[in-house]
């Protein structure tokens, strides 16, 4: 479980996060949604410790990352996996080496066990045959799956995903969403996903936090999303492609 309390983050004069409170539960896919520029990525980077908030607390099962020393943060990060928007696979390494890398750096397993674990992770994301290929030789969807395999190599307790579907076609997006959701349940991880894709929200969102202009506007479960009376959230939801299609389908049915 991760708890964010009164997070404020500014860049120069501009306040990007304004007193954000949020609770991200274990064993659930927690989604941060909002428009581009609303502060989602900054919030995620604060949660993961890449940015330090100006004030507020970020508690990982009660441990405040904002008050930790660098070495303590590094130790905590071994419990964290992250899927970046552009996958962030290491160009100079093959897919296999990318997944093997965190094991090589931090695992106490024998070399044979590390290889076995790498093969297991690649198999879990259905990439066993692509292990020898370089990131530049595989598709965007495969890169995301390889990044997921790398993120779960050390059995993390926390998984962060920054726009996991960006640049992917709708079918591949569903595959990635399902994979993240299944892995979350399998490892009982606290998963935090940053997205503006309503398909993902409806598909895998257990808990949803909507932020707008650096403020938390709404927090709740997927089933309550449609009953929300928050105007900004409603505007966001009904501006999405998914609901445009639903509206169009409804209109066509009415005409028939």
């Amino acid at each position: 479980m991760i708890e964010a309390k009164h997070i404020i983050k500014s860049f120069g004069e501009r306040t990007v996060l304004n007193d954000i409170d949020a609770l991200f539960e274990a064993g659930k896919t927690n989604l941060i949604i909002g428009r581009s520029g609303s502060g989602k990525t900054v919030l995620l980077k604060n949660l993961v410790g890449l940015y330090r908030p100006d004030s507020g607390e970020i508690l990982y099962n009660g441990r405040d990352i904002t008050k930790m020393r660098i070495n303590e943060v590094k130790t905590l990060r071994r419990e964290v996996g992250m899927l970046f928007q552009g996958s962030a696979l290491f160009d100079s390494m093959t897919v296999f080496e990318n997944v093997f890398f965190p094991l090589e750096m931090f695992s106490d397993l024998t070399r044979k066990e590390k290889i076995k674990r790498t093969e297991f992770c690649l198999e879990r994301v259905q990439l066993k045959d692509a292990g020898h290929r370089y990131p530049s030789e595989i598709s965007g969807g495969m890169m995301k799956r390889a990044a997921i395999a790398r993120a779960i190599a050390l059995n993390p307790k926390y998984l962060f995903c920054d726009e996991p579907n960006s640049g992917l076609d709708p079918q591949t997006s569903i595959v990635i969403d399902d994979l993240i959701h299944d892995i979350t349940l399998e490892y009982n991880m606290t998963t935090v996903i940053n997205t503006h894709d309503m398909n993902s929200v409806m598909n895998i969102g257990d808990k949803i936090i909507f932020i707008s202009q650096g403020k938390k506007e709404w927090e709740g479960i997927k089933d309550d999303l449609m009953q929300s009376e928050n105007q900004e959230l409603n505007d966001f939801i009904f501006a999405s492609d998914l609901f445009k299609k639903v509206k169009r389908a409804e209109a066509l049915n009415l005409l028939k």
């Binding site: 890449l50 071994r78 996996g81 890398f101 750096m105 931090f106």
Partner: protein, 249 residues
Amino acid sequence: MVLANFFEDVGKYVLLMKKVLSFPQKWSTAFRQYINEVQKLGFDSIGIVIIISFFIGAVIVVQIALNMDNGFLPRYTVGFVSREIIVLEFSSSIMSLILAGKVGSNIASEIGTMRVTEQIDALEIMGVNSANYLILPKIVALMTFIPILVVLSMVLGLLGGYFVCHFTHIVPVADFEYGIQSFFKPFYVWYSIIKSICFGAIISSVSAFFGYYVEGGSLEVGKASTNAVVISSVLILISDLVLTNLMMQ
């Protein structure tokens, strides 16, 4: 404002070096990185060092021979002066300026691209000291391999001079050979090697600094690469002056 930015950059550089100059988290991985960097920064530069040193060595001999056409000066002076130029300045300072262009831009663009594609963030998230993991092997590799390139450049420069004497007879080969052996001080070779090690540290650390702090996209990576070459070159020239004063007086 400019001065404030300058001091801010100096402070960032010092803090980065503090992160870089620590013990590697895993020695075996660091050693493998070191070998890769020796290959990439050192071995891959041998070609350019050979070509430039050979031809510049030849041109130095031709220019000196043409400009020292004085009956009172012995012909072996051409060999002597050529050797002094090549050993004292060309093979260390000028070759380092050339390497700043090749190696410096390579380091800045590689690390800069890793920054903008979030590969450095990925390392940090894993708990890896990204500065130490990426930059230390480059600094150590260049500092340990640059003396080999400098000595190679000296040999090739003198060989270029020898060939031009042999084929054009601008200076008799025997006079040239006598000249390059006259009044030889082995310390000059060491002086050149020590200078080049300092230049290697400047090229690799300054270029890595510019790459590591890139913000933005490919345009900024290009700018960082250019800045890395320019600033490294200026620092090489300044430190050349300082080291020469310190070591030769």
